[in-house]
Point group: none
Chain length 228, copies 2
DNA sequence: ACTTATCTTAACAATTCCGTAATACGGCGT
DNA sequence: ACGCCGTATTACGGAATTGTTAAGATAAGT
């Protein structure tokens, strides 16, 4: 009888709270990772790929709001549920947080039962189910995020990580043009600074490996995914 | 020819109760092991590989709930039946325990007849019985969880325990990428901390022993099981 | 206690990936 | 046609990740 409800990243600067939450969620069978501030949170999120992030609002070194904004900018976390933790009834943050992309909030002090319930329902609501694999299909092209593969007419195309992420972003909204700027922020993150030509090079590699032209250049604007 | 009914691990901090249960179950032909707390329980479970664990909820040094969670996180015990023992009508724990992966519960004080009945039916209900071995087959490859063996084209491949567990985890969802992080937690457990290269070394050994490449590296992400 | 197998670590090698820079190409306006 | 601007292409070196090996530590078997 296998039970594997999901992976959760806890972000709070107070070790006691992390410990407390961690203990309670481990008992429910979740896999847990923890971070003490926003910067570490983003690093660990990339590594751990949690299904859900529990994020404290008040933190040193990049606060909760800023962290949510940044995560939500990164395509990589489009399907990650974010729940933030506020001091009791701090409505200002509550509304604000939900606006910028959090899915729910929980007020401190934290009651274990409530916490588990909210997390459970949030995961159910957003269907973060480990069983079913996440894939997108466009005609003969298939992008499978669970297996990290792309295939065209059954033939597998081997992409490197950045290439995969880039294609995956563009394909998330077929036909829509992504600005170079947007691509940079969503694939590379806000902090990382890379030159403009870097995108071209990755696009080039995708085109080359794929054989067919999946990506259309919109000069002066950006790129879009489009099947031939 | 007598049917071998199974191996049971009893976990309780009160020696009298252990003795009492043990006596009754031995009479039914079960093989018995015992542990006095959660920590010892996990150690002995790894060793003894019980078909069923009888677990007291109230214990020092890692309580029953925490122990269940830990066992359930470890891929190794996916097929072990867990029954926990509560004080009479402690509904809170009953519901809780079932949610996090226990298969049944029994209230104290324990009546020998009831105990035997429940254990018998739990084993019948959940156990993939000894006759029918549990195995996964992929083309020419066969992974047998009952016999702890792997064979390729009828030829047996001898893997050590960690190697087997690692392969077994990856093969549980063919094609799916497992992050290094996740592998660590699910094969080694939540507490244990081992270096990153450890995984590589085990992967190496599996590849070496198997001869064929069963495992594909996804650079920067993790590993996946995939037949050539 | 001795022997053997298994697990982990550490150091080094090999590989792959990524970003940059240099250059080529192509459209567009003048 | 020429220059300008933005993109395409290519090759290279550093960085990051994984592969490999051997040796020490731990556990298991006799």
């Amino acid at each position: 009888m296998e039970v594997f409800p999901g992976k959760i990243l806890i972000v709070d600067d107070e070790p006691d709270i992390v410990e407390f939450i961690s203990y309670n969620l481990k008992n429910k069978g979740y896999l847990i990772a923890a971070a003490k501030d926003g910067v570490e949170a983003i690093r660990k999120a990339k590594d751990f790929r949690p299904d859900l992030i529990l994020l404290d609002i008040m933190m040193p070194n990049k606060d909760g709001m800023e962290t949510i904004r940044e995560l939500r900018n990164m395509h990589e976390f489009d399907d990650t549920v974010i729940i933030f933790l506020t001091a009791l009834n701090d409505e200002k943050y509550e509304i604000e947080g939900l606006k910028i992309g959090a899915d729910d909030y929980i007020s401190k002090p934290i009651k274990p039962e409530l916490l588990a319930t909210r997390i459970g329902s949030a995961l159910r609501r957003f269907r973060k189910d480990d069983e079913q694999e996440q894939k997108q299909i466009f005609g003969d092209l298939e992008i499978n995020k669970t297996k990290f593969t792309v295939s065209y007419k059954g033939q597998e195309i081997l992409l490197a990580k950045k290439e995969f992420e880039l294609l995956s972003l563009l394909a998330s909204k077929p036909g829509r043009v992504f600005l170079r700027n947007e691509i940079l922020q969503r694939v590379w993150g806000t902090d990382v600074i890379v030159g403009d030509r870097t995108i071209d090079v990755h696009i080039r590699k995708i085109r080359q490996k794929a054989g067919i032209d999946l990506i259309t250049t919109v000069k002066g604007v950006g790129y879009k995914f489009e099947m031939a």
